[in-house]
């Protein structure tokens, strides 16, 4: 299937405040949030991006929605370069993409009623006023919020987390988007309401034919929602494969450690966690060569000298590691 979103060698550096010494040396220190990321999201696909905190996965999501601009590289949406979008074409792009947030309590303005929050995208998109009420109602029906019109005049602090996340979903769906980025959509919710929200995410993707990118650190969630998973480490993609492959036959040592860290609900089965040491290095000064080498149990001399490229190792399975 044709790609809806294409990223080519995307780099994002966030400048940090310079010390006097750095100004004197002419240095420009920056957090390397993304260092050369290349992948496609096929039209209608569900792709997961997993990795630990600070690996750049949230930045990647923001870049795909044009909320931040890349430092280098190119992103295209439906064949059009995102960097050049302006005026009517930018508004058209905004009507097609949406974001679901991690924390529903923060994602809704405390001064807006529920109705006001969901109608806001319609106002911004210039939809005829006469259609507002019907479109809001149909968005609420899609997210299965029972008796939704009871909540129209309420404020966010009067609703529960699960209800709020459905409101956030309704707001995201009210314009009928093509592309949805969900940034840790259930990690802030009670376990009791997670399953319902996950089922809803899956359902709306199937019924509306959405292309979706799920950002998560939870492989179990990813397995439920996505056919394909990208594993990120310190601003780079280290493995890109069908989700089942990632879970059953992880190739990259980092992915192996991630999979080993997933708890298994079986007291008799014991999986040895892989011995990876230490913490994520400082993203201001990433290590030379492979960024994972100082934590990798298999690190060799070549890993410091040469950055491993993402290479195909099997059907649809790509790994960035010198071991392959």
């Amino acid at each position: 299937m044709a790609a809806l979103v294409e990223l080519r060698d995307v780099v994002k550096h966030f400048p940090v405040t310079r010390t006097l010494g750095e100004i004197a040396r002419g240095a420009h220190p920056a957090v390397h949030a993304l260092d050369g990321v290349t992948f496609d999201v096929g039209d209608g696909d569900a792709v997961a991006i997993v990795g630990e905190s600070g690996c750049g996965k949230t930045t990647l999501g923001r870049l795909m929605l044009k909320l931040v601009e890349p430092t280098g590289g190119a992103i295209t949406f439906a064949g059009a370069p995102m960097a050049g979008l302006a005026g009517e074409r930018l508004r058209d792009f905004r009507r097609q993409v949406q974001l679901v947030f991690q924390n529903p309590f923060d994602a809704l303005n405390p001064r807006f009623t529920i109705y006001r929050a969901v109608v806001e995208p319609l106002i911004n998109a210039g939809i005829d006023r006469a259609e507002h009420a019907d479109r809001v109602a149909s968005a609420f029906r899609r997210v299965h919020l029972a008796d939704f019109d009871r909540y129209f005049d309420r404020y966010p602090h009067q609703l529960s987390g699960g209800q709020l996340q459905r409101v956030v979903m309704a707001r995201a769906l009210v314009l009928g988007p093509r592309f949805l980025v969900a940034d840790e959509p259930v990690s802030m919710l009670d376990v009791s309401v997670r399953a319902g929200i996950l089922a809803l995410l899956r359902e709306v993707r199937e019924t509306m034919g959405l292309t979706a990118v799920y950002i998560s650190h939870d492989l179990a969630l990813v397995r439920y929602l996505c056919e394909r998973t990208l594993v990120m480490y310190l601003g780079r993609i280290v493995e890109d494969a069908p989700t089942e492959e990632i879970v059953r036959r992880p190739r990259h040592p980092y992915t192996q450690a991630l999979v080993a860290a997933v708890p298994v609900p079986d007291p008799d089965q014991s999986r040895q966690p892989l011995p990876i040491k230490g913490n994520v290095p400082d993203a201001r000064e990433p290590p030379s060569g492979c960024s994972f080498r100082d934590r990798c149990p298999h690190a060799m001399a070549r890993c410091a000298a040469e950055t491993p490229a993402l290479r195909a190792v099997a059907g649809g399975h790509h790994v960035a590691c010198h071991l392959e």
């Binding site: 930018l90 303005n109 405390p110 001064r111 009420a133 019109d149 005049d153």
Partner: protein
């Protein structure tokens, strides 16, 4: 998915400032401090409105007794409820008419301070970078000016009128509200709901005035209420020091008159105690109201 044909509620999508304003209007009924403050304001407002009826005597007219003598330093009586000044002017009439200038000074300064402070704070906080740097350096300069000397010098240059005192107070007070509102905007603009507005294509100005402004409006009111007090105190101080508008009647001018003519040594307490109490009351009322608005500012403090 089956779309059931249900009756759909009519759209209710007014400007989100309106519910905030409605709640702010209802607030004093719940908070005893704010209620007291509002009551004091209402009383003074009524006095200012009906000053001509309450005190038909011209406050600057020189009065004579029935025997044709100058009615100077007359003690309080039925004819002169608070007595007269050493030049034979009615103190009660001055007190009543002084309410007008106090409210005019306080309210106009409050409107200017809150408007300028809010807009500067919003713009500096949201747009950041050079805009923020320029606006904040200007505010630093205004903050570094000594308060009373600046007001005296400015009225000295531009003329000792009430509007120039208001101008001077506004020039000095806007940075306080601008800075606090800016810092609040700095945190609000990072909230996910602001990002949500950006995703749906809201313009920067729309985000600023529709999504962020309702969240800082109660803070603007806090600063407006504080500015009322400051402006009235400043006007009284400047008048007391003799730099005020000699043609207008104000409580500060009354105090200056009483001081200059040694009312204290003559025991004319009715001359300087009432204007002093009035100044304290109206300033305290402003602080009481601002206290009540803290609750509106933080909705989670509200009882559910």
């Amino acid at each position: 998915m089956a779309e059931r044909a249900e009756p759909v509620a009519p759209p209710r999508a007014g400007w989100p400032l309106l519910p905030v304003l409605r709640r702010m209007a209802a607030m004093p009924l719940k908070d005893p401090f704010a209620f007291t403050g509002l009551l004091i304001y209402v009383l003074f407002a009524l006095v200012a409105l009906f000053a001509d009826q309450l005190a038909p005597v011209d406050p600057l007219e020189i009065l004579f007794t029935k025997t044709g003598k100058l009615a100077a330093n007359v003690p309080p009586s039925a004819d002169f409820p608070l007595g007269t000044t050493n030049l034979g002017r009615d103190i009660y009439a001055q007190l009543v008419h002084g309410t007008r200038s106090a409210l005019a000074v306080g309210l106009s300064a409050a409107v200017i301070v809150a408007t300028v402070g809010t807009i500067v704070g919003l713009v500096a906080g949201y747009f950041g970078s050079t805009t923020d740097a320029v606006l904040m350096r200007i505010s630093d300069m205004a903050l570094s000016l000594p308060f009373l000397p600046f007001v005296i010098v400015l009225t000295g240059f531009l003329g000792a009128s009430t509007s120039n005192i208001v101008l001077a107070v506004a020039l000095l007070l806007w940075p306080n509200s601008a800075r606090v509102i800016r810092s609040q905007v700095l945190t609000l603009r990072e909230r996910a709901y602001v990002e949500a507005a950006r995703v749906t294509g809201a313009s920067a100005w729309r985000i600023l005035f529709v999504h962020i402004a309702p969240n800082i409006l109660p803070l603007s009111f806090v600063y407006a209420a504080i500015a009322i007090g400051w402006a009235i105190i400043t006007e009284a101080s400047v008048s007391f020091l003799g730099f005020g508008d000699s043609a207008s009647v104000s409580w500060g001018m009354m105090l200056q008159d009483a001081f200059a003519s040694q009312a204290l040594s003559r025991g004319q307490y009715a001359w300087f105690v009432p204007p002093g109490i009035c100044i304290v009351l109206i300033v305290v009322a402003g602080f009481f109201i601002s206290r009540g608005y803290e609750e509106v500012f933080m909705p989670r403090l509200r009882g559910r």
